[in-house]
Amino acid sequence: MTTTLRTDGAGRAALRVVPPRRHRGRDRDRERGAATGLTVGILAAACAAGAAVMIWSTVAAEATAVHSAADLAALAASDTARGIGNASAPCAAAAEVASANDAVVVACAVDPAGAVTGERAAAHVVVQATRRHRGAWLPLPRSRAEAWAGAPS
């Protein structure tokens, strides 16, 4: 911006303010495309937030399902150790229930008489989600869960 003081022939002075003309076009060129960048950035952030929410819900649902699978498999193993049901062995019953819940038994230990744990028909089962789960498309390790069950006291 330029400020000039001009004096005419009669000695009268006039103050004139002149905006810088030569930079105006260059500033406009520098800002050209800024709105596009902002739009792309906001859209990308929103898409990332949507993807994060989707991944969270898928993983949380799978973890919940695997926890249920472990709990129900341990319950089935404990029940079988108590002589309930028609399964051949406690861990076979646990594997059957886990398979019906789209999970596989990773570890299974049963203490029918309570010799080790002191609790009758104590079962400890670790299960892992199989590829049949809806979260299988995610490049993440499969969910694992463990559960204990025993005879009702």
Binding site: G50, V53, M54, A61, T64, S68
Partner: protein, 98 residues
């Protein structure tokens, strides 16, 4: 044009969150119902565990009972826009038929 698009995307993200939490909730409800079924106890109240409008169905095959909980999630309060979420859990009932 930018602000309506951002608003629509935020609504989509919020909708995904609502559907995701409902999915987790029905899965928990199915697990709880299957557990009570395995123990021979009365099933828990579905409206409490899975939310209003949830329905449960049970089918048995080979000594294993599968409980499926279904619920329709209405998005943004509109009647026509909704997603049905489903969760299921399988258990071996104590009093299963041989």
């Amino acid at each position: 044009m930018l602000l309506p698009t951002v608003l629509a995307l935020l609504l989509v993200v919020a909708g995904l969150g609502v559907v995701g939490s409902a999915q987790v909730r029905v899965q928990q409800a199915a697990g709880a119902a299957a557990r009570e079924l395995a123990r021979g106890a009365a099933p828990p109240d579905l409206a409490t565990t899975a939310g209003h409008g949830a329905t449960a169905s049970t089918r048995s095959s080979g000594g294993v009972a599968v409980v499926t909980v279904t619920r329709r999630v209405e998005l943004l309060g509109f009647g026509g826009l909704g997603v049905t979420v489903k969760g299921s859990a399988a258990a071996r009932p104590e009093k299963s038929e041989p």
